[in-house]
């Protein structure tokens, strides 16, 4: 029904024009353009179409509007060039966090730029001057998206008991949209990452009373699910296994739904690899496919890979994998991950961009050895990182099994991310250089990564391979390859050096990388990505956010910390301790949007709840960070969680290159209303 289309999950807003008869009248459009003339004209046209229009002239403002009111908009129209943030990055972020359809517009009709729109996941691309005819039908994107979401949900929910189904569906709807959104509404610097997802309830569309899924609880949940087998895990049995007083089957069911979604997102893969239907989004990510292959790579390879420029990476992948990179979906490459999650499907891990739970973190440390140094420089590294991660994961698996898986995932994710990033490489996520640090397995990493593609999650060992790629990490890229940015360095692996300087992500990684739910993506320095504006990574953001928490102590902190710190911190600081600098670059979407983030690594569970938060937080962090970004001593580029990185980067760049002029030239003082009218 159309109504659903409007209300993501929660039928909130009456304004959503829920009245099907009138649809699309009242469609709530957010239009973002830094040129006042265009903005006024567009607004006029949209009003004529009887839509509800909110204008704003800055991407950051648009994001905050969207975050504050997650369900307040149905569709976003944005220009490609914006002063504070690249339109594509915004596109990715929105896709990750809020999962809203986004239409790009531009005065440029160059093929490349239009292609970019496609790869980043724009649902349409309009060339200026825009005519009203082009706007009259934008509602179709809203409906289409809802339909697809439902389908996904249904798929994931299918496994569930019939009774739960309904519930799930609605929940899924909530989650899927919200999960992505990361907006867990309150992401405002939520420190609570640990609080997890539940926190977001306040704002989230869920109407049910929620249980706070703490890290432990989630771990228990995941353990139970794994024990039962993801396909067979039904709420009732899970509940029994968990044996937590006060927990109802409903709580479990809803959490499971989210978890599934999360997994699906992670895997993005063609379905069912793991049994979930993976709705892999794999957009472009062909690389994913490759990534998986890489997992098998040895660490050495990884290490090497890290160094290898993205291109090589791709080659490696191709070689190693034999997969067609072009495959957008990565069939969960991480086989090993299985171990980690044991239940899930490794695919999920990769969730193409979705954050992986990786968290297994345990071993992630293994990765430490790998020079995550990916140095921001090139995304290539990131890719490698991703790859490495993948490999690492493998390795890890061996070790810690868990971490390995996570890592793998992470790597995978990362690789993906990297690959996706297309080479944004410049920033090459900072993959925690010091991966050595045992990243807390926090499943988060995986989770987170998975989500965003960060795959890093969990890595426990500081490996945040993600970091580099962090941006690339898995961001679920909604869009695409851009992962580069996304690769959150989720490195969630706690050890993963925060993206910033080290590359190692401090424990953070472990933090939450929780899967979609709470991924706490280690803050990897998405920077490199940021540069590229890989919006994709934004998902990681969440991850990144979470990471912060833990980072501090390198020691694999329980992810939760990381998450919190990440969030709270915007990732920067936390990592500091480890040197990690966790940059939670994971800016990418709030992790886990999948709502279920629980995916994360089983047991590892970083405490994923963060993930969700993170996502939001990441975003938040980012904004906050931005000013800090520059502060980061470590490579400026590196640190910050994706978001931050991005912002930081942008800022930096602006400041550096542009100098204050930006404002001068940019008429930032435009009086154009940024605020919704």
């Amino acid at each position: 029904m159309l109504n659903l289309g409007y209300c993501k999950g929660s039928m909130s807003t009456a304004s959503s024009g829920g009245v099907s008869d009138q649809f699309p009248v009242g469609l709530r459009v957010l239009v973002v353009d830094d040129d006042p003339t265009c903005l006024v004209i567009l607004e006029k046209m949209l009003r004529i179409c009887l839509y509800e229009v909110t204008k704003c002239n800055r991407a950051e403002i648009a994001l905050s509007l969207l975050r504050e009111n997650r369900n307040g908009y149905d569709i976003v129209i944005s220009d490609v060039h914006m002063p504070d943030m690249d339109g594509f990055k915004l596109l990715e972020l929105i896709g990750l966090e809020m999962d809203l359809p986004v239409i790009m517009m531009s005065a440029d009709d160059g093929k490349n730029v239009v292609m970019k729109g496609v790869t980043h996941g724009a649902c349409d691309y309009l060339i200026k001057p825009i005519r009203i005819e082009a706007l009259k039908n934008i509602w179709q994107h809203v409906v289409r998206k809802k339909k697809n979401e439902r389908k996904d949900m249904e798929q994931s929910g299918s496994v569930e008991e019939g009774g739960d189904r309904q519930q799930k569906q609605s929940e899924d709807a909530d989650y899927s949209s919200s999960a992505n959104e990361g907006s867990w509404k309150n992401s405002k610097r939520r420190k609570d990452e640990e609080e997890e997802v539940d926190e977001r309830d306040d704002t989230s569309t869920l109407k049910k009373p929620r249980v706070v899924w703490s890290v432990e609880l989630h771990q228990q949940f995941v353990a139970a699910v794994n024990q039962l087998g993801i396909d067979k895990a039904v709420p009732k049995k899970i509940l029994e296994l968990m044996n937590v007083p006060g927990l109802t089957r409903e709580n479990v069911a809803s959490h499971l739904q989210k978890y599934r979604l999360y997994l699906r997102r992670l895997s993005g893969v063609s379905q069912h690899q793991s049994g979930m239907g993976n709705s892999f989004i794999s957009t472009q990510e062909a690389t994913y496919g490759s990534l998986s292959s890489l997992n098998g790579l040895d660490l050495q390879t990884l290490a090497a890979a890290s160094q290898i420029p993205a291109q090589s990476l791709a080659t490696l992948q191709a070689a190693g994998l034999g997969r067609s990179t072009a495959k957008p979906r990565m069939p969960m490459p991480i086989v090993d991950q299985r171990n980690l999650f044991s239940f899930e499907n490794p695919k999920l891990r990769f969730g193409e961009g979705q954050q992986q739970h990786l968290n297994n973190g345990k071993q992630i440390n293994l990765l430490h050895g790998i020079p995550t140094t990916m140095e921001p420089k090139q995304l290539a590294n990131m890719h490698h990182s991703a790859q490495s991660l993948g490999s690492m994961n493998m390795q890890l698996n061996a070790h810690g099994d868990q971490s390995g898986s996570l890592l793998m995932q992470m790597s995978q994710q990362q690789s993906r991310g990297q690959i996706l990033n297309e080479a944004t490489s410049s920033q090459v996520p900072r993959l925690p250089s010091s991966i050595g640090q045992p990243i807390v397995n926090n499943a988060l990493a995986s989770g987170v990564l998975a989500r965003n593609g960060l795959a890093e999650s969990g890595r426990g060992t500081g490996f945040n391979p993600v970091s580099q790629s962090s941006s690339t990490m898995n961001f679920p890229l909604n869009t695409t390859a851009e992962l580069t940015a996304t690769s959150f360095a989720l490195g969630s692996a706690p050890g993963v050096p925060s993206l910033t300087s080290k590359g190692m992500f401090p424990e953070e990684i472990s933090s939450e990388i929780k899967g979609p739910g709470g991924f706490i993506m280690p803050s990897y320095d998405i920077f490199s990505d940021l540069q590229h504006h890989r919006s994709h990574d934004w998902e990681l953001q969440n991850a990144g956010m979470t990471f912060n928490g833990s980072q501090q102590s390198n020691s694999l902190q329980s992810n939760v910390d990381v998450a919190s710190s990440v969030l709270a911190h915007q990732g920067f600081s936390s990592s500091q301790s480890n040197g990690q600098g966790r940059n939670i670059s994971a800016v990418g979407k709030p992790m886990f949007s999948a709502g279920d983030a629980t995916d994360h690594v089983n047991a590892q569970s970083l405490g994923q709840p963060l993930n969700n938060f993170f996502a939001e937080n990441l975003v938040r962090v980012k904004t906050e960070r931005v000013p800090d970004a520059s502060l980061q001593t470590t490579l400026f580029n590196e640190q910050f969680g994706q978001e931050d990185l991005m912002s930081a980067l942008l800022k930096q760049q602006q400041q550096a290159g542009i100098g204050p002029a930006e404002n001068e030239f940019d008429f930032d003082g435009y009086s154009l209303d940024n605020i919704p009218v």
Partner: protein, 146 residues
């Protein structure tokens, strides 16, 4: 009648914009159809905004060129904005000149770029003069109609 003559003048002026290639007939007519009684000042507002912003953009481009090192990102952004806004209101000459400018800079041809910028400035100045008058007349016509 004042209003008639004013409207006539408006009409003539409007046509001259088209004849001189300053404004694109189709686009302007299109914009005019968007105006309705709820928002009778739409066209005026749009033109006024354009006049204000385009001047700023051009100034920014100039400044960016003069800084050392040249501030390319800003320049690019300004040119891009100018391109979009001029296309949106149908300011054909300005739009064309902006494209030329962008191309020159993208190609690294500073000389041509600078020359093109001067040309753009001149075009813009002319256009602005005329448009300001036109907008004024539009406003007056509204008042005198009733």
């Amino acid at each position: 009648m004042a209003s008639t003559s004013l409207r006539q003048q408006l009409s003539i002026m409007r046509q001259s914009f088209f004849d001189e290639g300053l404004l694109d007939h189709e686009q302007v007519s299109y914009l005019e159809t968007l105006e309705n009684e709820d928002d009778p000042d739409f066209i005026e507002n749009v033109f006024t905004l354009f006049l204000r912003d385009s001047s700023r953009y051009i100034d920014s481009i100039e400044k960016a060129l003069e800084t050392n090192p040249i501030d390319y990102p800003i320049m690019e952004r300004m040119m891009y904005r100018l391109k979009g806004s001029s296309a949106s209101i149908g300011a054909s000459k300005i739009n064309g000149e902006t494209n030329t400018l962008r191309k020159a800079f993208h190609d690294g041809d500073m000389e041509s770029g600078k020359a093109s910028l001067q040309k753009l400035k001149a075009e813009h100045a002319t256009f602005k003069e005329k448009l300001v008058v036109y907008v004024e007349m539009l406003k007056q016509a509204k008042f005198s109609e009733y």
